[in-house]
Symmetry: C3
Subunit: 318 residues, 3 copies
């Protein structure tokens, strides 16, 4: 198939908002993965591409997140685009009582695309409804963080070759972890078997679990990390946050049960992949970093390629 033909089979995201992990069709996900992979190859040959020259990205972080903000700002600049940035809400009109909708409409007079993080669920949708330009949700409280889910999928494909028939353990805080909520939606498209490994107080919301089962996904809930991990091709670790616990002794007890270290690794499948949305604290010990399947920093890098793909696609350049 010639180049023209190949791109005719691609989904278009031109002008679209990226708000929710389950907004994508299978074809759209495949297209995003393809474009991200193309960019990854091109960045091996040169430092940046000129695809978005003259375009401006606004990053609006009402809740700070250096990692996510810098990832998007890198993606934009690797495509030769410019960036305007609000790194924290203190310095915003929100402090003067402005609605998210008004802020989004204002900033859409400056920029060509907005990335927003906000502590309140639904806020990214409000911004998208108000703004005439595309809006990407980079986390809306306990809600969604769809680009994280996409970069996770991209990483799993690269590390494991395919998503088909994978056994995946999601580990840690499954109740509040928006990352895992969005990821399981995407994994449900490809016959994964899922272990949900968490303390009982931080279990995956019943609504998500039953929805998955309704789609025919095999789901096992357990507090036993070893049992799940030993059968898994992939461990998706998350941070258990102290502030989720009323009883600190309960936190200390629980935290210790969900730690992966070098000793633990030896009992798992040889080719297991370990992911983590980062930052990690104690749940993955430093000695794991040197294991070939420890993919969490490659995962960070993949985030740049996936976000480049999204920016280029919603701006109609791919």
């Amino acid at each position: 198939m010639d180049e023209q033909g190949r791109y005719e089979t691609m989904a278009s995201l031109k002008g679209k908002d990226i708000l929710h992990g389950n907004q994508f069709s299978k074809k759209e996900i495949d297209s995003i993965m393809k474009v991200a992979s193309d960019f990854e190859k091109e960045l091996k040959k040169k430092d940046s591409l000129s695809l978005l020259k003259g375009k401006i990205l606004a990053t609006l972080f009402f809740e700070p997140s250096t990692r996510t903000r810098l990832s998007f700002e890198t993606a934009m600049q690797r495509l030769a685009g410019g960036v305007i940035s609000m790194a924290s809400a203190e310095s915003s009109s929100a402090a003067k009582g402005e609605t998210v909708a008004d802020t989004a409409r204002t900033v859409s007079q400056y920029a060509d695309v907005i990335v927003i993080r906000h502590p309140r669920i639904g806020s990214a949708k409000e911004a998208a409804d108000a703004a005439p330009i595309p809006v990407i949700n980079a986390g809306d409280g306990a809600g969604q963080h769809p680009t994280q889910a996409l970069l996770d999928i991209y990483t799993i494909r690269k590390e494991q070759g395919s998503l088909k028939n994978l056994v995946v353990s999601m580990v840690g805080d499954l109740k509040y972890g928006r990352t895992v909520h969005a990821l399981v939606e995407l994994l449900s498209l490809s016959q994964a078997k899922l272990y949900f490994v968490s303390p009982s107080t931080l279990r995956m919301p019943e609504e998500i679990t039953s929805n998955l089962r309704g789609k025919g996904v095999e789901v096992v809930e357990t507090e036993n990390l070893m049992e799940a991990a030993s059968k898994s091709d992939l461990l998706y670790m998350t941070r258990i946050q102290k502030e989720r616990f009323e009883d600190l002794s309960e936190y200390e007890r629980v935290k210790g049960s969900f730690i992966v270290n070098g000793e633990f690794l030896k009992k798992l499948k040889k080719k297991i992949t370990i992911l983590h949305p980062l930052p990690r604290v104690d749940e993955i010990s430093q000695d794991v970093d040197f294991y070939p399947g420890a993919a969490y920093f490659r995962q960070v890098r993949n985030g740049v390629f996936v976000r480049m793909a999204l920016l280029a696609m919603i701006l109609g350049k791919r």
Copy 2:
């Protein structure tokens, strides 16, 4: 007239500071409007111009203002210039006791032009006196904010065709609102009739009112919004800030009297234009947004063109 001839009639702002709303001659204002209008047309054809490639703008915001900072940073980048930014004073040498003059002299070793916002009146002038490069005042406390006034003028010309013989109501906090102080200076150049509509505690400073009357401008002061609005071609709304009131019940009473909503609009001139420097809180209700004369978000966009014009002109590129 050929292109050469046309530009010979333009005022030059090369190397000048932009400090005060009334520093401009009529010819200078016309030139700024002309350049801004040219840029607006050019940006319809492409995403950015290369006029300031290699130049660097420093934005020094000792008092945060996301809106104004991002507007300037957008303007610079739409002209292909670079930006270095201090978004809040916390992270500045000011915390170590440095004077504004020293900060400005330091930053002028890095950048080609400085935009400064500072809570103290007169600070932008101090920066300009110390720095060998042009300085733009983006608000010095209760003092001036001249680029806001220029973008207001640009917007009024676009929305109403001309400034000539307009009836304008300035509404809300006229005592502390530096935006309206600068704007009335510029409006006084073109035979506007002005209504000053405010609670008695937030009236336009007597000095400004009598100065306007001295120039022959017709000024009416009132607390009756409907009376003024029904005769006006333009409503310039501003936010009434709670923190200006010692007596909160007085605030609640006053606030309610200066609100424009859809019902109110019906009683006004058909072609009325509504402006607001934003952010708004309750003084313009959401249903007004869809009215054709609601120009406050177009006003935001115009700010980019006007700031592009100022940056290009003081750097000698237009």
Copy 3:
């Protein structure tokens, strides 16, 4: 010697970290000075060079420093590179308990070079050990700030023609001043005679003084500024910070003894150079600014050239 030959004699810093003031050989310092001087000349002809186009610098300031951060960001942009920036630690993953090493490894997935400032001594080294890309230490608490020392050397060479046989007074807080610690290391390579002028509670650490003497450097410690200054070719002034004193009356007494003003200047050598890493508070009065030897703002500008040289060299472009 032809151009090729000239560059063959240059030291390479490609891929290296810049962590400590005494990591450099004499040849490396000469090469940095040469490249900085070339850039200074080239920037007189145009606004920026395109040497680092497509490259990205990450500035990670866990402790805010507008001056140093903007200097690096300017240097990168004058070479056409891009910047991603964390201006303060509040907005960082550090707040979530991430180690400096993990932050550095994460950010090295985005950027081509990292500049880090952190309040803890040794932190820049940790970042450098963890990151696969070059790391520049822009201050690690009471530790090192090597680029300040290099720009000081660059400035002294320019102002005095050479470093050879200079008599230098280092004045103020010599105990905690990391700037002077790194600078004396570099000065020790060129037969300077050093006066250390400080209150007894803020003397140069004994370890540094005896190390210098061991290398044959002539060192005089005194509390008498006039005595030292009157014999000096160069005064290197530093700020005495109130927070170093338990007894505030002691602070007030001490502060007054280390002030340079116009009257004082008259008693010194005609061609004396006055440097200060800035920000200054009272230790150099404003009337000194207009003296030809007052080089502290030129020193700021030189910082851009030296940092351009370092960025270009460690990225293998010079």
